[in-house]
């Protein structure tokens, strides 16, 4: 029997020790799924030294060997302690695919470097003309000797400006139906012929990029899975991207923040904490949060056997992201005019100058803006509903 309370204590002790004020600050100032990159990398190294960087991985590949409940406890404690988010495209997304589809050489080469932070991965799926209709992607990989020659462009590649590796969906056969001619390639970002253009997001920060490939030579050994079987690899991965995330923890953290903001937001002679109208609205969101939590638990219970969450991950993704957006709106209602200033420098964890915005309102507008993307990336809310209609309802 695992002593879960004792485990939770040991996680707390570690976090208390390992999370420096700068790292916690980076966590507090996180306004999207990504934290300040330097802080995220520093945190990754600390977790790696502790052996806790990949909670979901099996022990043989460097995981800590925790069960599902320990993993949930760890995630929750990290979030609530304001640990920065580790860049997830490697360990959370590509890692499980490598274990499933990778050759021994690939596993041996990539997995340890992914854990240590030597390799920072980004995801090359979407293209300017292929968003929801991902299978229409055009970036091509043509075989030439022992290499593929890759030409095309990928967009919305988060963190490409910091990454040194990219996993890509590329077209290797144009003669068959779209899904059947796609392959999954692992590419070094410093390969000749690759250029990266940052994209400024609506909040003014750079989180995403467009990556251009101009006759980039990639060894055939970098193919993951079989040639022309990339679509099944990608689908497997997308389900992990959606289902691997624990929305309940994010929601709990947001709710905790909203309660604090309500106490600090004046309302007549008192505060929004005592405003029944606002509290009613908040309670409705809390009830939906409970429903989400118990749905996640139900799904996780069923997946305990190790199965892929499948179409149910679509349900959780829709509900988790849309509820998150609703909570952002509640925060906006609380901070009022303090949402106005767009001062990027104050969101830098190392910033120590004047504050044009009270502490409790610092990230609210940026979160409100950035979270609009949560129902777009990883498969839009529309695509998720289509998956539910097709796979669950059989329509």
């Amino acid at each position: 029997m695992i002593d879960y309370p004792a485990f939770r204590e040991s996680v707390r002790d570690f976090l208390h020790e390992a999370l420096t004020p700068e790292l916690r600050r980076a966590g507090e100032l996180t306004t999207s799924v990504f934290s300040d990159f330097d802080a995220a990398l520093a945190w990754q190294k600390k977790l790696h030294a502790q052996g806790w960087i990949a909670p979901d991985w099996p022990k043989e590949f460097g995981g800590p060997g925790w069960d599902i409940q320990q993993r949930a406890i760890f995630q929750e404690e990290c979030k609530l302690a304001n640990a920065p988010s580790v860049v997830m495209m490697g360990i959370q997304m590509l890692g499980p695919m490598l274990m499933h589809y990778g050759t021994e050489d690939q596993k041996h080469h990539y997995l340890p470097r992914m854990l240590s932070g030597e390799h920072i991965w980004c995801q090359g799926y979407s293209e300017p003309g292929a968003g929801s209709d991902l299978a229409s992607l055009k970036t091509s990989a043509i075989r030439d000797g022992s290499d593929y020659v890759v030409t095309g462009t990928k967009i919305w590649t988060s963190m490409a400006q910091h990454a040194n590796q990219i996993f890509c969906l590329v077209r290797t056969d144009k003669s068959v139906k779209p899904q059947a001619g796609i392959s999954f390639l692992l590419i070094e970002l410093d390969s000749p012929g690759i250029s990266i253009a940052p994209i400024v997001s609506l909040d003014g920060q750079v989180e995403q990029c467009q990556v251009f490939f101009d006759d980039v030579r990639v060894p055939c050994a970098n193919l993951l899975g079989a040639e022309n079987d990339g679509w099944s690899v990608a689908k497997f991965l997308l389900e992990f991207e959606r289902g691997g995330h624990n929305f309940t923890i994010d929601v709990k953290k947001q709710l905790r923040k909203i309660h604090r903001q309500a106490e600090l937001s004046p309302w007549g002679e008192s505060t929004r904490a005592e405003d029944i109208v606002f509290q009613h609205r908040l309670a409705e969101a809390e009830i939906d949060a409970l429903a989400l939590e118990h749905t996640e638990l139900r799904i996780k219970g069923a997946a305990e056997t190790g199965g892929n969450p499948g179409a149910l991950s679509s349900l959780v993704k829709v509900v988790g992201t849309e509820l998150g957006q609703r909570l952002n709106e509640l925060s906006m209602d609380l901070v009022g005019p303090a949402a106005g200033p767009q001062c990027l420098n104050i969101l830098d964890p190392l910033y120590s100058g004047d504050m044009p915005v009270p502490e409790h309102a610092l990230t609210t507008m940026a979160e409100y803006i950035n979270n609009r993307a949560s129902t777009i990336y990883g498969g839009t809310a529309e695509i998720q509903r289509s998956i539910i209609a097709k796979k669950v309802l059989g329509l």
């Binding site: 209709d133 609506l202 005019p337 106005g340 044009p356 609009r372």
Partner: protein, 358 residues
């Protein structure tokens, strides 16, 4: 609509279409400017700064219902310059003031040399108090919209147990501004005031100042509401245009019925909101009994409808809408900031409940 008013609308539409380029706007925003002085000059040359000023004071004497279509256009074109703050809001208080006050400030408002803004409805008034024989005006105003670009601030003052309004020159020594870029491409400011106070500088005092305060913030609601309608229209138009040309799964997005219905709902909300805002402006001009009730309703309706319409616009565009260089997200950001201007929606609804007739 009379010829004069139709001309205003047409010329405004033409001017904004030909001159208010979104890429130029963004270049100016990225250069740290909260407004464009050339645009401001053009607005006064075209007479827009004189619209709301009575004819006997050198203006056109247009009511809010006449101006609302222009305000909508400003919302649609994402205009940053605080024209209506200066002309309709601050100007409105000046017009309610003494003859001397009008002579002092109206020419500047009309010729554009005064760019005035106003504080949040919840802002605490400045205090005028005597200290060792000298009376000084002091206080802090937080989150003043366009406070970084304005030349003047219309400010409420507490002096000898009464509230008053005055026009504060923001260039005076003793006024310090900490300005910041705001998410709507403007520059807001926190303004700290510590200057000598002269009673003669007051525009309005006592009961007439209290009336002016109510009128000011009711007008501010209507101005914000009309701008919100324009932003909704802009977001809807772009969404329709984009989904017509964007193809996925071998067909334009606009051909999917699920999306068509959502765009139809956006249109329904935009038109409902527009009706309410125009009716509220008309009621305001006519001093109708329900004018205040309608102003509260109009602004509260815009806050909810603009939030949902601009969010839908982003969602239906997809990734492109989350970028700074694409226009649609800016409607979302502007309307998000309008939600708490000049007063938060929850406060408007609380007021609406109080004034509701059984």
């Amino acid at each position: 609509m009379s010829d004069e008013k139709q001309m205003l609308r047409d010329s405004a539409e033409r001017f904004l279409r030909d001159n208010y380029d979104f890429a130029d706007r963004q270049a100016s925003v990225n250069a740290g400017e909260g407004m464009d002085a050339n645009h401001w000059r053009a607005f006064s040359e075209m007479g827009w700064t004189a619209m709301a000023i009575p004819e006997n004071a050198g203006g056109f004497g247009f009511g809010l219902a006449d101006i609302a279509p222009l305000i909508e256009l400003f919302g649609q074109y994402l205009v940053r310059e605080p024209l209506f703050e200066s002309v309709v809001l601050a100007g409105g208080v000046v017009i309610a003031g003494s003859q001397a006050a009008q002579e002092r400030y109206l020419p500047g408002i009309i010729d554009g040399s005064i760019i005035a803004t106003i504080p949040q409805a919840t802002a605490a008034p400045l205090m005028a108090a005597s200290d060792s024989g000298q009376t000084r005006l002091h206080g802090d105003l937080q989150f003043v919209p366009s406070g970084g670009s304005a030349t003047h601030l219309l400010a409420q003052v507490r002096y000898e147990e009464q509230l008053h309004w005055l026009m504060l020159d923001l260039e005076l020594p003793g006024v310090s501004r900490s300005s910041y870029p705001s998410h709507d491409g403007r520059r807001g400011a926190h303004i700290a005031v510590d200057v000598p106070f002269e009673q003669a500088s007051l525009l309005l005092s006592g009961a007439s100042a209290d009336l002016a305060t109510q009128a000011l913030y009711q007008r501010a609601m209507l101005v914000a509401a009309a701008e919100g309608v324009g932003a909704m229209q802009g977001a809807l138009d772009l969404t329709v245009e984009y989904t017509r040309q964007r193809e996925q799964f071998g067909q334009p997005l606009a051909s999917f019925q699920a999306l068509q219905h959502r765009m139809a709902s956006m249109l329904i909300q935009t038109e409902l909101t527009r009706s309410l805002v125009l009716a509220a402006c008309k009621a305001w001009d006519d001093h109708a009994d329900n004018a205040v009730q309608l102003a509260l309703a109009a602004k509260a309706k815009v806050d909810a409808a603009a939030r949902s319409v601009t969010q839908e616009a982003i969602q239906m565009h997809g990734g492109i809408a989350t970028t700074e260089e694409y226009r649609v997200g800016h409607y979302f950001k502007r309307t998000a900031l309008l939600e708490s201007w000049p007063l938060h929606r929850d406060a408007l609804i609380a007021e609406f409940i109080k004034r509701r007739h059984p």
